[in-house]
Assembly symmetry: C2
Homo-oligomer: 256 residues x 2
DNA sequence: ATCTCCGTTGTGGTAAGACCAATCATGGCT
DNA sequence: AGCCATGATTGGTCTTACCACAACGGAGAT
């Protein structure tokens, strides 16, 4: 009770100021202002991967909106994978390779019922090309990573779950070796979606499957190492088609 | 600074209830609860494209969090393209083809400096495959759409901006004709990024460029129509490589 | 002198209530 | 019957307050 203010005259107002932080579209909501503001900072070079954004309260005064609105904008950026917030520490722009996050694709999959065949097909288009590019561009380090992942595959034929992880890692490495970050990002996105599904059924794979799979990966690696773009693409194509066929068998005519 | 009220009474509490809406991970923040809740609704089939979500205030009571938290979750979903809010009307799940939005990719481009060549390369990988698939699967309606877009291209050779729009539309149509929604979504995403950049420099294209481009699109269409997967892929490949080369010339040795 | 512990401080995370703005449906008026 | 005003519904924003986590730094113990 006492004197908890209770000012009945609360005047919100005072908001149409601070319209100067560069490139303001007038037809935008306040939340979009936040997003475009951050985008402007990025395009100006004021924000680079690994940097920390100003505190939410500071951003709020800078842009001229309230903190919840700033939070809404940051939440949107976070969902897009552009920033990552760490409680108590701050909001950062992720360093490392560009990444898009597979959650959006996962939602689309749930909404539109993407089939396993469609996922394999999408992977095939991307990764067949990526393998070809990798054959002509892979650096020695990337080749070493690929070789290591092939070894890991052979070494984990007794554990389907571990095998699956290394499987994904190999394909990721191929995408990275393509030297094209956009391709790498797309492959990463689809691979994550694939992994999320495959994880549940990986245990059904027979040891023969895993052996064949390891061998196919090895052939892909060798083609890439030899600079044989056509061979790498062909090997990747064969691998993904066979894998798709294997899994169609596994699930029989019943489940999806 | 010492005695700032410090009212010990405030009892917000009352939140660890309502933990029943299915599949709750305990290690999640409240905002993630909202996202997983919606995801659960989708996976249950309670929400399909075109449906309207419960009002924010209702969702808040259903999930057991405050409205700002619900808004944060919805904002995240909105940024992912999973939902779309219309002021005064409600929050909906977009109908129509699956779509991912190019904004995240745009941010990544700004952050990591994707080059035009990399964009063309990514498009090439995806669309060469998409063209091949389209050749074997395109429905009569899709073929009609493609034919129409080719005609539009020839008809707008005098207006580079309009030409660019139809150009994008044609490639979108090819992706749609591939019959694979994932491929369609990815192509859409990269194409939008491409369009956003190309728009600024499209005016530099010579009429000869546009004429050549129209002709190449026509050849792609004819190969698809003829069911010639190899031909369609080859034509698309040639088209994208030549386009990339043209634009490298346009910008000369100076600008990016 | 060094190390450990703990509090201060800054940061993101959540909550509650109020009001604004756009939309839509409904009822009364013409 | 048709048109327009009005209210209810719903998303959008602001304000304030408090909680939770993390890093920094000083005080005490060893």
């Amino acid at each position: 009770m006492t004197l908890t203010a209770r000012r009945p005259s609360a005047r919100p107002a005072a908001r149409r100021e601070a319209e100067d932080a560069g490139a303001e579209r007038s037809s935008e909501g306040s939340t979009e202002h936040v997003v475009t503001h951050v985008r402007t900072l990025i395009e100006r070079g004021a924000l680079k991967p690994g940097d920390r954004l100003p505190a939410e309260r500071d951003l709020a005064t800078q842009i001229g909106v309230s903190r919840p609105t700033v939070r809404a904008g940051l939440r949107a950026l976070s969902a897009m994978g552009v920033v990552r917030s760490r409680h108590g520490s701050g909001t950062f722009i992720p360093s490392g390779p560009p990444q898009l996050g597979s959650e959006p694709l996962g939602f689309l999959a749930a909404l539109h019922g993407f089939t396993r065949e469609e996922m394999y097909e999408a992977r095939r288009l991307l990764e067949v090309g990526a393998a070809g590019l990798a054959a002509t561009r892979a650096t020695p380090e990337q080749l070493a990573t690929l070789a290591e992942e092939v070894a890991n595959l052979f070494a984990s034929m007794d554990d389907p779950q571990k095998f699956l992880l290394h499987d994904i890692d190999f394909h990721r490495a191929v995408a990275a070796a393509s030297g094209n970050p956009i391709v790498g990002t797309l492959v990463e996105m689809v691979s994550e979606l694939y992994y999320g599904r495959r994880r549940e059924t990986a245990a059904r794979a027979t040891e023969q499957n895993l052996r064949d799979s390891s061998e196919m990966h090895r052939r892909i690696y060798q083609a890439i190492r030899g600079g044989d773009a056509g061979g790498a693409s062909a090997a990747m194509n064969e691998h993904l088609q066979k894998s798709s066929a294997y899994q169609a068998e596994e699930s029989g005519g019943a489940t999806v």
